[in-house]
Symmetry: C2
Subunit: 309 residues, 2 copies
């Protein structure tokens, strides 16, 4: 028995199309509607057979749906919310997958009718690829999905979105929106900013040097290039919409980097050794938690299946 009658996903990129695949595989809805403003994306979604109805008419796409999922760049939230708001079904639930929560709540909530709930959400999953072809059916298995309900959000709505994500294999965490934005500022936004910057720095090198940098990228650089290949629009919007938290953690980082620079210039080996010994312990914290295993999809899938019995 499907949990929901009708679900609409607005935005069929990497996350939206992964969700469509996961929702179908886990039989979570009777009818799945996929919407995207791009006609080209819609055509590809039809070819991939990811939904029952595919449309580029975002307003029409939400009519009659129990759950509407906004899987679009953060900067597009306000415009889309204004468009769909008047056409939402009474007692339906709107949710999103944006990497920033404060700005999304500010953009979306005003357009949500009284009879509808908004449950801001952020699944900690995804890779650097884009488009409906890049979706992965088990992308969310074993991953966290953070919900940041507002004072307006009903418990019933939070439960529904919890069912949705747990049905896709994710684990739920409830968090304050501002807290989310600060924590993700450190764990996600700052690392992406730094990766973009260092790859950009390498981009400015002379041509022959650039070729060598790519050739010998296995020595540390390569991991940064993967992160710096993430969707440009999505990430532009994240930085513009989590400005305060990003600038705050960036300032702390810059201070620490200046201290490193000083230590290298002065030849202060003791300082460097002390910092490097501490950071090694952070890694141990992660491996002790068994979190590292989660980077292995096979292992996670296995655990998920065991849990399911």
């Amino acid at each position: 028995m499907a949990k929901f009658e009708k679900i609409t996903i607005v935005g069929m990129g990497h996350i939206g199309s992964s969700l469509a695949r996961a929702i179908r595989q886990n039989n979570l809805t009777k009818k799945l509607v996929a919407a995207d403003i791009s006609e080209d994306v819609c055509r590809r979604v039809v070819e991939l057979g990811l939904a029952d109805i595919v449309t580029s008419d975002l307003g029409a796409s939400v009519e009659g749906s129990d759950i509407v999922i906004l899987a679009i760049p953060v900067g597009a939230m306000k415009g889309v919310a204004a468009l769909i708001g008047p056409r939402l079904k009474a007692k339906s639930v709107v949710t999103d997958v944006g990497s920033v929560k404060g700005a999304v709540i500010e953009a979306v909530q005003p357009f949500i009718p009284e009879s509808v709930d908004f449950v801001p959400a952020h699944p900690i999953a995804g890779n650097e690829n884009s488009g409906p072809e890049s979706g992965i059916v088990d992308l969310f298995i074993g991953r966290w999905c953070i919900l940041t309900p507002t004072p307006k959000t009903s418990i019933r709505a939070v439960e529904k979105i919890t069912h949705l994500w747990e049905g896709c294999g994710a684990r739920i965490e409830i968090m304050d929106p501002a807290r989310h934005d600060l924590v993700l500022g450190i764990t996600s936004h700052l690392p992406h900013l730094i990766a973009y910057t260092i790859v950009g720095t390498a981009e400015h090198l002379e041509e022959d040097m650039k070729a060598e940098v790519i050739k010998f990228s296995a020595s540390g650089f390569r991991g940064f290039t993967r992160i710096a290949a993430s969707d440009p629009v999505m990430w532009r919007d994240i930085f513009l919409n989590n400005k305060e938290a990003v600038l705050d953690v960036l300032e702390r980082f810059s201070e620490d980097l200046t201290a490193m620079q000083k230590a290298i210039r002065r030849g202060d080996g003791e300082y460097l050794h002390e910092v490097f010994t501490h950071t090694r312990k952070v890694r141990r914290g992660i491996t002790d938690l068994g979190l590292e295993g989660f980077s292995s999809p096979d292992l996670v899938r296995k655990r998920h299946l065991e849990k399911e019995g």
Copy 2:
């Protein structure tokens, strides 16, 4: 038929013990000697059965060897070179695995007798683990090993060290030492410095925030913690011994980071989008070269076996 009569590896950490395993598996020498100043490491090497002779007497360990490999931190090179120099066999070849080449040449070359060759080398391989247990027999398969011969190095010696590394599955690149230090400054030393710094920044957070950072580290931070778990002594020595190149690339990086900071503060989405679009292309350069596959040991092993016939 083994290519060499006797090989000595000085330093049985991650790289030294990986080499010992690879040399034995590929039957590259009749006799393998493993030396380490730590009695404890020597005991573990004996237990692991990684060599024919295991000793903490570094000077004695090199006697009669055709090839002596220094697999020790860059900062230990000078002292060890002084110790083994007088006991090297005539016409033997000394090589190393240090991540910095200019400073290592300066430290080692003066102690190498006229009848002996020194071939500075740097395999682009390894992970964040340490100690003889962490060695991996196929660590070097498909990986680059950069040789930076000096004007004193004979072609015969370069050929021998090429045989050694190719015998372990590596591919050889010849490079000028100063060029090596600048290229690796960008691809390896700067990424490590930045990873150490950002993990250090997270370390300074309040306790409850730290727990959340670890919990949600999948969003980008985790990759940095792996790099920042690398051996503290090894990396302290790299930064102290490649000071100029590291400070040079760090300055370029800091300028670019300041530009990013400004763009975020001003809300300059156009600038951010342009940088992010460019960096995505760098990644494509790497995947187009098929380099990404090299992060998959199975694929690399398969290719290696196919090549071997």
